[in-house]
Structures are given as C-alpha cells and as structure tokens.
Symmetry: C2
C-alpha cells in the first residue's frame, strides 16, 4: 500500500522535500500555515533573495530542476568590497567559472510549489499546525477557526525556525534545545534600477561595505534592483538603538556607507518602514522521534553569513532521499541514520555561519587577510587535490560540512604560522608551497 | 503607595522570596499552579529530601528562620562511600563542625508558606499561569476553568524549571535559551527504618555507592528512613532500558549495590512504581524584562549533584533583597543589577553541578582522588586563609560561585602537577606546602 507522508511547511525546504518524496511514489500531503505564496503579494518577514550554491543546486539537480533554476539566477563570482572612501576591490570566491547565485526566495518557492503539484503533492495552505503527536503520527491544525486532525505513516517537519513540530517535541522528555541570538540584528533596504533602467552597481558580485562591528551588503535581483541588508548591533555606540530619527540614519549612512547613499533614494523611508529583526542560531536534538523528523531550519536554523541556510536545508532533503534509495524505503532506521549522519554537519555549518560574520564585516578589509587568501589560492592552484580553501569546501563542494570545518581549522593553524614569516607581504611568492601543503 | 509584587510559584524559592518582600513592606501576592502543599499528600515529581548548606541557611537567617530550620535538619558531615564488597569509607566534607543538612522538601516548604502568611503574603493555589505580559506587568491564570487576570507593579517568576514566565519571555524577541539533558536519569527508592525502628545505616552521612558511570545515593529523613536515588544512563549496557523485569533489577542491585539489597525490602516494587526522570540544565538570558524577573530554577535549573539547586535559588532571593536594601526600593535598575551580578554565578554553579556527577559516581572511589583531597585538606589546615578546597568554597562559604569556580580551576591545575610527583602516595607529607599555596 502506498505510504502516506505528511510534510509540515511549504517553504523552500518543505516544497523540495515534497517533490523528492512524491517522485519516489509516496502519497505526499503538505500543510503550510501561511497563504499560498503564488496568490499573495508578501513573503512575510523573510529575506527577499538568497545565495544558492553547489549543495543546493545538486539537490535541485536530483529532482531535475537545476536548468530551470539557473535561468533565474544571477551569478556572483566574488565579493565587491566598498572601502570607506568608495574605492572598490573585487575578490573572487573561487576559481574561474565558480560562483554563487543570487536568486529570489519567492520566485524559487513558487517554482518548487508548481513542480511539487505536478509531481502529485497535495497542498493545504492557511493550516497552522498546533500539535504533532509523534507517538501516533498524527497532527492537529487550525484552519478557519476549525480544528483539523490528520494521520500519516510519516510526518516530516520542514516548518522553519519556529517549527511547530519542534515545539511539540520540546514538550516531550529529554529534548535538547538551544536558541541563541547574536547581538546584531538586520534590516532590509533597497537599491532600485538606475535612471537608464539598468543595475546601479555591478550585478555580478556580492557587495560588502565591511565596517568592523557592522556591515552593509547588497545582492542583485532579476528586476535590476538590489536587496540591501544592514547588519548592526542592537545596542551600543553604532547601533539600531541610536538610529531614531531620519537625521540619525542619514548621518550614519553618509559617514559609514557614503557611496551607497545616492543609490538608495528611499533610504530613510525604507529604514523606518522595514522591520529590524534578530539573528538566531537554533540547535536541537534528537531530530527524530518514532516516524517524525525535522529538516532544514526546523532542525538547525543558522545565521545567514555563509549563505548556507537554504543550501543546508536542501542538502538535508538530498541526504534523506539518498538514504531512502539505499535502504529501499522510508522507515525508522532511515530516519535514525539521517539524523546521526546530518547532526554533526548541522553543528558545523552553524559554527561556520557565525564565524563568517566576523570575516565579512571585518576581515575582508584587512590586508593581511587578503594576502592569506591570495596564498591559499596559490596553494590551491599548485595542489588542487590537496588544498581547497575553506570557503570553496563549503560553497563549491559537497564535502561534509563537519569535514570542511575540521580541515579548515587545520589549514588556519598552518596559515597562522605562515603569516608570521618576516616580510611575508613581499616574499610570499617564494614560499615553499609544497611543504605548507604537506603539513595538512 | 504600597507597591504590589506578584510572585509566580509557591515552591521553596517563591515562598522565601515572598517572605523577603513582604517583610520589606511590599504587598505580595503569590500564585501557584499546584494545590496547597499543606493540604495535599503528594509533592508531585520532586525529590523528597534536599541538602541545605551555608548559602541557603544564610538566606533563611536573613528572614530570621535558621533556628527554626535547624531543628528539622539531619547533619551530614561527610560522604560514606560503599565499596563493591560492602566496605565503608567515610570522607569528611570539610573541617570539624562543617556539615551539609538533609531536610525534607515538603516540610521546609510548609514552614516557608506558614511564615509567608504570617508576614502578610496572600496565596492563590491551583492557579496555573498561562501568560505574563511583561510590557504591561500583567499575568493570566487558569483557575477552575475560569481565566483570572492580574496586574502588579512587579512580577517575579520563581515558578521552577518549567517556568510559565520564562515561556512568555521566550515568545519575545532575542531571548537566549538552552535546555540540555544529560544521558543519565534518576529514580527514587526507599530504605525504611530497621526492625528496631532506628536508622538502618549511619544517618550522619550522605551515602554513595559510586560505580563509574552510575551510582546510588541515600540521604536520611527525620522518620529514620532514607531516600535513595539511583542515577543511571537511560540507554546502554547498564541502563534503565535494560532493567525491564524484577529479575533484571534484583540481579543488577545484587551485583552492583550488594549491601543495599537487604536494606530495601520493597526494592523491585518501588522500582516499577516510581517514575524515571530526566536531569536537565536550563540556561537563559535575559532574566529581566521591564518589571518582570526570573529567579531560582526558572532562571537556572541545574542538575542535583552539588546539592546547590535550592541553595542557589535562596541565594538569588538574598542577593535581590540586599540590592533592594542598598537602593532603597525595588525598581528596574535593581532588577538589572540583580541579573548582571547573578548570571555569571548561575553559569558557574550549573557547570559545577555537571562536573560533580563525575566526581560522585566515579572519582570518590579513586585512591589518587582521595589522596588529592587529603593534601588539599592539609593545605587548608596550614593556610586556612589561602587555600579553601573547591567543595568548601561552594558549600561552606558564600564566595560567588563564579569566583569559586575560577579559583577551583587554578587549584586543579596546581594539584595536577603536585599529583605527578614520583612517589607522591608515600612522600606527600613532605611536600613544600607553602610553595604550593603560593602558586595560587
């Protein structure tokens, strides 16, 4: 008999998961608390665009979608660093032909919903999950003031950072859980197309204005605008708390992000209209109870600084899909293997994402850091099999996050010593690169 | 005008806090979800007896209660270690005249409730808090199928590890929270008085059967019985999971706690009647939002292995009380100071409690550990002002937990080196004790 799988969440991860399982012949029904994205105009408190990279593309490829996706992507082969005086400096992320992709969250979500329906998935929107009973594999929803109860063979929670399934699991015994907010928050702003209707700045880069404890970034959209995000501490000297008036905001942007001001005609209006949001890391375990499991942000919400949140969630689906193929069916031991395999990788990507805030807001402007990246690039050119920079392992490979992090730490220890060589700034080309690589 | 303080929780910490504030002239109203302990027979899933030590007694002293309490205490000046062959070994906790106290949770709670009523506190039992609105200092309760809403100048949450106030705070932005369960759980058992109606084993000791990854402990009660607690992993070779039948339980106790079996005539019955519970550490921050604050387990639930849960909660009340005295009144800046002062100490005692499980279940049976304790005792005798062993700093002093932990770490580093001296077992009396102390 066809097994019934209920999926919670029709966001990016829930939709892709639905496709994976429907294509394997499961009867998939997916519940979402919000209205159908395809019929509503607001996305609701989520970032407007995202960076799609190798892991996410590989998962989309597995359901035959990567070509469809690529046409909606804007390639970003590197970072464009905006100095305080407006000077620009481009740093490639990887090798020639390697890039991350700016993609619209809503556009991608709509495509996935359409594909899921084509694959036979049934969607129920405006169904707010209020409880999951993992012992009986049932769930209760609120829908238009009524209560709806469902029963399934499996319930998979891809219902995001504020997951209802996770809340239900938390009420059971012995569920480990942590939510931790960093001291900075974020606010989205907007660079519209210029007077000629074209991109106002180079679209083939992720723009960063690194300023130490805070930063501004911008990612291109297909409509030739940019979505801009300010990351700034909530409290302290330079903080959201100290930006109370239009004058405060203008003065702050003039002083710290001077070259961005003329690009954002609606800066102060956007600033006071758009919400200021917190940035949370959520860690929990177990992810699996009986025939219920958590995937994506529901299992491991991370800060956005490595551009890996969606990629990690898509990789969860892909890992689970491959385990089902290996074992021949979805069952409890597949779910068990999924969580044991995936938990260390979720921990690693959470740590990587936290670390990358420091890199983006501060280190990318540091000449010593830039030199280190240059040396690592050289190491990679000379020994492509032996030395892959951490950013490339995370973004352009599907090495397990936990392995990437472990290798990255080892690389950093080696590079710390290399960077101490007297006169390294001038003499770096004469380094004994082979002996450096051999320390790995 | 008299300020109104609402306290959530009429457990140990809530009752003591109520007394502190009522004695300062606040109009105190205290809400408790359970029935009045004084009229009900069950305590409901909490440990039966507790170890009261210096910090707790000092707080009780501050409200004039310590003499009243002392008559209800059974002094435990040390640990009685039960070896596998039944041999007994007594280790004093501190100096002559220093001891911790076994006290009945329900007896102490009843006394505190009576004292609070005498001080003018109004109690509402069977009121289950469902929400605290810290922006308006209001709270909602369920009482006999009705909803009751209250308003106060301050609301203080002393409502335990599953705090309703903390749940409300968690729904607000930027609340850091962690709950972590250790892999062991616990189950309470019972040693009744012997045939002569007397204590079956020495009442003036905390009995421990240390067995590496698990242990049994026993604390005396005034009725000449002992409350026994088995701490054991949930899963694995020796685990709750593997104790499914009466035969399993008998065989396990015969093999591992042989001398305890004849003391517990109802062992197997108790084992299958009494619940198996998890052991959680809860960390969160902030503890204060506007005029609302968390105290005791609601702010920092810890594992029971240092006997400090109640003592730390009582010390919270005492610290807050002294801050109110210093500033002349309870206000937001007092609450702010309370949380900033107290958070590092809560973190420290949480870590100390986790560490002490390893000490109790494993190290107390290790000759090297026993020798180290002997050397530290000698250091303390020779230099009482300079070297106070960690256990004594935590249990017999009111040094801040965070300082005790920091000093204890430094002491351990020094002792690690001392313990490596060749022939230390024989030659320890000839150590240069002054030079050891001077390394601190």
């Amino acid at each position: 008999m066809t097994k019934k799988v209920t999926i919670l969440g029709a966001g990016l991860v829930g939709s892709l998961l639905s496709i994976f399982l429907a294509k394997k012949g499961y009867k998939v029904t997916t519940y979402e608390s919000r209205p159908d994205y395809r019929k509503s105009t607001t996305v609701g408190g989520r970032s407007i665009n995202l960076a799609l990279s190798h892991r996410g593309l590989k998962a989309l490829n597995a359901v035959g979608l990567d070509d469809e996706i690529k046409s909606r992507c804007i390639p970003m082969p590197g970072r464009m660093i905006h100095a305080l005086d407006g000077q620009l400096d481009f740093h490639a992320y990887g090798k020639e032909g390697e890039y991350i992709n700016s993609i619209s969250r809503s556009g991608l979500n709509e495509l996935l919903l359409d594909e899921a329906e084509k694959a036979g998935v049934e969607f129920y929107f405006n169904h707010k999950c209020i409880n999951v009973d993992y012992k009986h594999t049932t769930a209760q929803f609120e829908f238009e003031d009524r209560k709806v109860e469902i029963e399934a063979d499996f319930i998979l929670g891809a219902d995001g950072a504020y997951s209802a399934m996770r809340s239900s699991m938390m009420r059971s015994e012995r569920f480990n859980y942590e939510q931790h907010y960093i001291t900075a928050g974020y606010k989205e702003l907007h660079i519209p197309p210029n007077a000629e209707g074209d991109f106002a700045i180079d679209p083939n880069a992720l723009h960063i204005w690194p300023r130490g404890k805070y930063m501004l970034i911008a990612l291109p959209n297909l409509d030739k605008s940019f979505t801009v995000t300010l990351f700034l501490p909530f409290e302290g000297e330079k903080s959201f708390e100290n930006l109370q008036t239009e004058k405060d905001v203008s003065a702050f942007f003039e002083a710290d992000f001077g070259d961005s001001v003329s690009l954002m005609p609606n800066l102060t209006q956007d600033f006071f209209t758009n919400p200021t949001s917190g940035l949370v890391t959520i860690r929990c375990y177990p992810w699996v109870k009986e025939n219920c499991a958590l995937l994506g942000d529901a299992a491991h919400a991370i800060v956005p600084f490595y551009g890996q949140g969606m990629n990690a969630g898509f990789e969860d689906c892909h890992v689970l899909s491959r385990l089902i193929d290996t074992h021949g069916e979805l069952n409890q031991s597949v779910l068990q293997e999924y969580q044991e395999l995936r938990k260390p990788d979720a921990e690693a990507v959470a740590d990587l994402a936290l670390y990358n805030f420091i890199e983006m807001r501060d280190k990318v402007a540091d000449p010593k850091f830039i030199l280190q990246k240059k040396i690592e690039k050289k190491l990679n050119e000379l020994f492509p099999e032996k030395w892959l920079p951490l950013y490339s392992m995370v973004t352009f490979s599907d090495l397990r996050y936990s392995e990437a992090l472990a290798i990255g730490k080892k690389q950093q220890e080696i590079m710390d010593k290399v960077m101490e060589y007297p006169g390294i700034e001038i003499a770096w080309q004469n380094l004994d690169f082979a002996s450096i690589v051999n320390q790995l």
